[in-house]
Each structure stands twice: as C-alpha cells, then as structure tokens.
Amino acid sequence: MNLSVHLPGLSLQNPILPASGCFGFGREYSQFYDLNKLGAITIKAATGETRFGNTTPRVAETSSGMLNAIGLQNPGVEKIISDEIPFLEQYSTPILANVAGSTEEEYEYVAKTLSDSGKVSALELNISCPNVKEGGIQFGTDPTLAASLTKKVKDISDVPVYVKLSPNTSDIKEMAIAVEAAGADGLSMINTLVGMKIDIGTGEPILSNHTGGLSGPAIKPIAIRMIYEVSQVVNIPIIGMGGVTCKEDVLEFLLAGASAVAVGTANFRNPLICPELIDALPELLDQYAYSSIEECIGRSWKNARESAPFSRS
C-alpha cells in the first residue's frame, strides 16, 4: 500500500507527523525509534528571541485530555537553527517549522530566518497559541489580521507556508478562507481550545497561567467538525490534528478532509505512537477497501456533496 501524500513543500512517505510542541526538536523521541519513519516532523514553535515561557505548573490533566500553558518556551530562532535543527539533518524526514511571535515583525523575522536557513521544508504559522499574552491568538481570531500576517510571511518566505488555525472562534471557515486568499499554501488545524482546571483543595487554577490549551481525545469531535467544514470551502490541503490516539482516528481525520495527520498529546502517553500508526495504516486502509491515502481524503463529504450543509457559494 502506497501511503505517500504530496503537499506543498512536503513530500510525505506517509501521512503521519508529530504535532508542534509535543515532540521538542526530535532528539528525545529519537531514543525510541528512527525518525526516518515519520512522514515529517513539526518542531516546537520558534520566536525571535529566547523565551522562558510561563511559570509552572504548566500542565494539568482533564477528562480524556490535558491543559498546557508552556508559553512558547524556546531558545529563539537562531539557536534553533544552530543547535537543534542540525540534529535533524541526519534524517531525510522533512521539517515543518512552527513560527510564533508577538508582533507581525517578529513573525516575519522568524519566518525569514527559518526560510533563509534552507533547512526547513515548510513553515507553520502559529496564529493560535492560547498561552501567551501577546500575539498568538489575536491573530488567530481576527480574519483581517490573520490574512495580513499570512501575506507578509508569504512575501518573505521561499518555502510554503501553512497557517495553523485556532478553534477558539465562532466561524473557522471565515478564517480559513481569509488566509487562503492571502496566499497560505496549506492549513494546520486545530490548535488547542482555551480551558481551565481548578484545584478544589487550594481553590485556585492549577496552571500558574490560570488558563491553558486543551488537547487530546476530548477535542477530537471539534477538530473533525472543523476540518469537515473547512476542507469543503478551501482548495489548499489541511494537516489535521486534535486527539489522535489510534489508527481509526487517523482514518477519521482523512475522511473528514485532512491530507495528513499530526499527533500531539498521544506522544506523551505512548512515545511509539507515530511509528505504530504508520505500521498499522496499510492493513486498516485495506480493511476498509481504500487503496491510497488520497482516496480517503474528504470522503465523508465527497460522497454526499449535495446534502453537505456547507459549501463555498
């Protein structure tokens, strides 16, 4: 079975990649398996300068999910290029570099620096981080801001740009259409939903940042719905994510309209999840009589286009 998928800038031998922020810069999980197995690797968000992120506690467990408020801790784009990416160059796996910032200028600087480095296959514009006071989510909930930022980053980037959408919005289709029009080559969705957990002992929020991003199986139905809606109104591919834990989930994301599937939280529970999913896919597709990944993509609405409640026009 041929599992390959060809997306702008990313020629994937299979549709599975780790999600940004859940896989560091690859080193840790390379202790568990050969990273050449992966379709691609999404690395942790880069900002212009070193960021220390939020104070701890930064994670909390919730029903079938978790909250995180890391706050974009990272050594800064230059150190990422000099100290982190070289490790990944020993692998042939394409790198999708997650780009964050507080201002348009910071996003542009990070994007340009990564693109110019010649070491990454594509950028993932993180306009949806709920855990920082500035940047991140404002860009992710205002279509005009998002489009403007996308355009600027496209202008200075030589590699394709994927825009990572926030689910914390009443109309994600509008956001998707706006960034597509602004030149996005693809979409990543979804980032986390803003949530909170209170420690009933102390009476206060567990996370020191109070709120955090909800990820894991709890949010899968929201991710599937959003991908189903958005894939019907854009012509650019979607990297789908949100709660993937098993091979059936991967197929569900493809059927909803994703062209590739990223795995986040599940890595923490099962460091081998990505290679296990990749190994399991051929038999699963076979069982459901699909002969390629391509055939699965968007099948849920392609079958029943007439009755689909959403359409571009």
Binding site: C22, R27, F32, G53, R58, V59, N68, G216, R269, P271
Partner: protein
Amino acid sequence: MLTKEDLIIVENKQIAKDTYEMKLTGEVVQFMTEPGQFLHVQVGDGWEHALRRPLSIANVERDNVSVVYKVIGFGTEWLAKQPEGQKINVLAPLGNGFPYKDVKNQHVLLIGGGVGVPPLYYLARKLKDQGNTITTVLGFQSKDAIFYEEKFQELGHCHIATDDGSYGTKGFVTDVVKQNAFSVEKYFSCGPTPMLKAVIQSMSIPGYISLEERMGCGVGACFACVCEANNDIDVKGYRKICQDGPVFSAKEVVLS
C-alpha cells in the same frame, strides 16, 4: 536504554497511612542502576487519564524494582487497587539520578520528606556499598505515615521528625539537622519544595536535591516541567526536571 515496557506487579501492599509499596518486574529493571531516576507510569484503562505519573525508583533487588507511592488522586488510587500479576506500563528509566559514583568512604547525610523518602533508600544502599557512612533524617506528617525507618537503620543512623511530634523529633527535618550538627561532607535530599528550600538554606556543604513538577512527556520533549537555573552559573535560564534532573546540584537551580 529508554524503554516502554509492561512490568508485572510482584507485590503491592500498604506500608503506611495512604502509602503503598509496589514491586514490579521486567526486562528494563536491569537498567535501573541509578538512584534518583524515575518511572513514568501509565494509569487507568483507555484515554480518560491521558498523562503518565512520575514515580521514583525506591529500590532494585534482583529483577524487581520497588516504588513507594502515596495515594493522592486518581492515578495513585488506581495503582493501589491493582492486583499481583497485573501489568503496568512504564517508561523507564528516566532522568538523571544522584551523582553517587565518586562518593566513597565519606560521611553523607540523606534528608527526605514524605514521598521524597523512597529514592533516598536506593541511594543509601549504593552509597553504603561504596564504603560511605550514612546518616538519614526523614520527615513525616505523623507517626502513622512513617515507612522504611528500619531499612534506613540497617544502613546507618536514622533520625525521624514528625510534624505533630507523634514520633521522633517534633518539627521539621531541618530542626533535626540543626540539633545534631552532623559532621558530614555531602548531603542528598528529596521532598516537598518548601522542605528543600529550608534544607538548602541550612546547609553549607555541597548537596544534591531531587525536584518534583507536573509533567507531560517525562522525557524532555514538551517543556512542561522546567525550573529556573541559577543564572550565576548558567545563562540557559531553565532546566527540564524530567531530562536534566530530577536531581540537581543545590547550586544549579533556583526554587520558587
């Protein structure tokens, strides 16, 4: 050697108030040579509880690793209910343990509080094997929470402090330390952060502490478990407790 494995429960019994000792066996146990390292333990069935729980290695004997855990919430409650023969999935061995290898023929002080006590036991055994003299000070809330006293006694002097004075010295481990003026060359400590802070302040000799923080991945990939690094010695600004620790030189980190 980082491994994901189903270990098998050999024994799981209550040893003090809300406190259990579980012995597990499996292939990866042979690599658990460093006291202070920990296991990242999967709890519950399915995905309702998505995160693993970090538990320190309390001892290794033949093919068995022991952990000692206090029942706090869902995960530890679940562990307490698991029968002998049951499989428990772990990532192990994780983190960097106590730097004991070069410590030989010295007099060392071990200071533990509550469920910070377990990793010190395996450490004590290793240190003893290397000809060190060991003095231990353990703090517990009350008499019924005490565990491993005899085990530590076998390896050297063991002083106990209880918050309520129901056993040993009434007060904190630091009170015991002050009262006794032990002539030691090094200390190793594990326990709640306020205790560690007090310990560091009261000691002028070199020491190593083991920290706790809520964790995601347990392997260094998610940046959940950081602590501040002492800027005087390092500008990197933070340490990952799961990967760079959980044991640090007392001078290396800043406790908040």
